[in-house]
């Protein structure tokens, strides 16, 4: 029981991170209907920015953890959003209005480019930082096993919940959210009604990148080690999460992320860890067979 609780905590932490990245996929998909394959690599870039920022702070002898975290978050948000904007502007905008597959290939190319650019400029070696947040609380202690939740795990879960609430509010209540949803439904019509479509799309990319930046900082804090390859694996999982939840739906992305995190944890905990990816994709296939638009996705209306 204690063991299951610990695995639940592990799964939630992992799932929260997948969810944060998945929201970026889902928002971009919602608005321009393309899979942004480079999103995982944007996340990776942000993790590298976080490592540099943490190292700078360590050199400047900053010891206050909240101060350090805020600084790193701001730096990462700024630069990562810039990357999100630049990727959209160079690789996707020229392709808007062409076939559905063209931006997909461009995105795959961008993903390869970013991975190698980071490898070249920052080196292929793994980048470690000393543990930033240490310790945690013991939730439950049995003679055989002590359930423990680390402060960093708590931080990840809380941040994710807060961001989720903030985003839902933004999409449903603010003018930007309305514009964003208008573009999602009908870009031409939105443009006719005075919505600046290009700007809205750019902002969507920047917001998606910002969420990836938060995830990148969290990963750096939690695992303490980053390398140029993390974007690929996390990207595939987050993409799966977005589809599982119903691509285009924000709560769906979060739900999908959590589910994938939990499936991975519990499958690895009780069954064969080596087949956990098979389990993830197998469950995805099952869900899609029963609900072809994902768990919370709206069924596609086919206009003839």
């Amino acid at each position: 029981m204690a063991y299951a609780l610990q695995q639940l905590i592990n799964g939630l932490t992992l799932g929260a991170m997948y969810g944060l990245i998945a929201i970026g996929y889902t928002m971009v998909y919602g608005i321009i209907g393309m899979i942004n394959f480079a999103h995982g690599d944007i996340f990776m870039v942000s993790a590298f920015i976080a490592v540099t920022a943490f190292t700078l702070l360590a050199a400047a002898d900053v010891t206050s953890i909240p101060l350090a975290l805020t600084f790193v978050l701001i730096v990462a948000l700024f630069f990562t959003s810039a990357y999100g904007w630049a990727v959209e502007r160079t690789a996707y905008r020229p392709l808007r209005g062409s076939t559905r597959l063209a931006p997909l290939i461009s995105a795959i190319g961008m993903s390869i480019f970013l991975q190698n650019a980071v490898q070249l400029t920052q080196g292929a070696r793994v980048k470690p930082i000393p543990p930033v947040i240490e310790g945690g609380v013991q939730l439950w202690s049995t003679p055989a096993f002590t359930v423990q939740i680390g402060w960093s795990q708590l931080l990840i879960i809380v941040t994710t919940v807060v961001l989720m609430i903030a985003f839902t509010w933004m999409i449903t209540q603010t003018p930007f959210g309305r514009q964003q949803r208008a573009c999602e439904q009908d870009r031409t019509m939105a443009a006719l009604l005075g919505v600046n479509v290009d700007r809205t799309i750019s902002l969507t990319f920047m917001l998606g990148a910002a969420l990836a930046a938060v995830a990148g900082v969290m990963v750096t804090v939690y695992y303490g080690v980053v390398d140029f390859f993390i974007g690929f694996l996390a990207g595939i999982k987050a993409f799966t999460a977005a589809v599982l939840g119903g691509i285009g739906s924000l709560p769906g992305a979060m739900l999908g992320g959590l589910l994938i995190g939990l499936i991975e944890s519990f499958w690895a905990a009780y069954l064969w860890a080596e087949y956990k990816d098979v389990a993830t994709f197998g469950i995805l296939c099952l869900v899609l067979m029963l609900r072809p638009s994902g768990l919370l996705g709206r069924p596609e209306v086919e206009k003839v």
């Binding site: 610990q6 932490t13 793994v126 945690g136 390398d227 991975e264 690895a268 080596e274």
Partner: protein
């Protein structure tokens, strides 16, 4: 398209033949880019100094050596492509590849092209396939696993042991051998697990180890994953000792795992840096600001091997070189080398090391 291929290929051909006319070309190959790029770096640095030293002594049979570097990124398909490139460059000797999964397919190309190779890949299959151009200057996973498993059984009596691997050819081979060796000494591993290399989250594995009360983990795989597992074990309040193989010689382990790296034991050939004959070379490396750790001296030794074999045979023809390598005994910076009929090193000793404060030394 094909025409461009032809045209560009002509250009490429021109470029290659120019480079291979003047000197004797020898080659190294390994992961110069990708996840294990730091190892490729070690190999290159070792080889570069060896070439410089050999050329300073007047080269081999009066000809200067020229180094070709191949990058396979530990991908078997690229390894074959590299091998073909090297054959085209008319190399007379190859040191590589590094990953067993690259060495195995590439060696067939070298074998057909009559190029002798010295490798540090430890998978038994490397020399078990009856190819007579392969010489292994390192031990084998089965020997390595025997030493590591024996050490665990002797030094951690009564503690629970888990055997974990990363599903790579090297990792799984080593882990299986360690499991066999531990069981032979009457210790039954509590857990047998596999992980996926390249991931970051191993908290599931760590929790599982904690639940089972495991204190010693015999691990087959590379250093990056060990660093992460140790870090996450520490965060989860699990004190874990890791026993692993030659890949742990990489100082990246210490950078990434921090102080937790002091719990890492591993097997490796007797430290060549402690070899008195190697002292001048070690000095040279340190003067060039290269710490001769891991595979640096192996790369140096591989080229010494070629130098001595070629000088001894008074030829760089394959048949002569192969005979010289098979029958001779060579004095190198990693000790005296001689080979058996399969091409395995005759006296490959493995010793257990422990990381301590950023250095590794023999474990007591």
């Amino acid at each position: 398209m094909k025409k461009t291929l032809l045209a560009t290929a002509c250009l490429a051909l021109g470029a290659y033949s120019q480079t291979s006319l003047a000197d004797l070309s020898v080659a190294i190959a390994g992961p110069m880019t990708g996840q294990y790029a730091s190892v490729g770096d070690q190999i290159r640095r070792g080889a570069e100094l060896a070439i410089a030293d050999i050329n300073a002594r007047g080269g081999v049979l009066g000809e200067k050596l020229k180094l070709e570097v191949g990058d396979d990124a530990c991908d078997p398909k690229q390894a074959v492509s590299v091998a073909n490139t090297m054959v085209n460059k008319n190399i007379v000797f190859m040191h590589g590849h590094w990953c067993s999964s690259s060495t195995i397919p590439a060696s067939e190309v070298y074998n057909e092209a009559d190029i002798p190779m010295a490798t540090v890949s430890t998978n038994p299959q490397v020399t078990e396939r009856g190819l007579n151009n392969i010489f292994r200057i390192m031990g084998r996973d089965d020997q390595q696993g025997l030493v590591a498993g024996g050490y665990i059984a002797d030094h951690f009596k009564g503690k629970k042991v888990a055997v974990v691997d990363d599903k790579s050819a090297y990792g799984k081979g080593l882990a299986d051998e360690m499991a066999k060796a531990v069981e032979a000494k009457g210790v039954k591993p509590t857990l047998r697990e596999s992980i996926t290399a390249g991931e970051k989250d191993y908290s599931g594995l760590v929790t599982k180890l904690k639940q089972a009360g495991v204190e010693v983990m015999a691990y087959g795989g590379y250093h990056t994953e060990v660093a992460l597992i140790l870090r996450q074990a520490q965060a989860a309040g699990l004190k874990l000792t890791v026993m692993s193989g030659d890949t742990m010689t990489n100082s990246e382990l210490v950078t990434a795992a921090g102080p937790a790296a002091d719990n890492v034991l591993f097997t490796f050939s007797p430290d060549p840096r402690k070899n008195p004959d190697a002292a001048p070379v070690v000095e040279k490396f340190r003067a060039a600001k290269v710490e001769p750790e891991g595979y640096v001296l192996y790369a140096y030794a591989a080229l010494q091997l070629f130098e001595q074999a070629a000088n001894g045979a008074r030829s760089t023809k394959y048949a002569d070189l192969e005979k010289a390598l098979r029958n001779g005994s060579f004095k190198t910076v990693i000790g005296d080398l001689s080979f058996d009929a399969k091409g395995d090193q005759k006296a490959p000793g493995f010793v257990v090391y422990r990381w301590q404060g950023g250095q590794y030394d023999y474990a007591r």
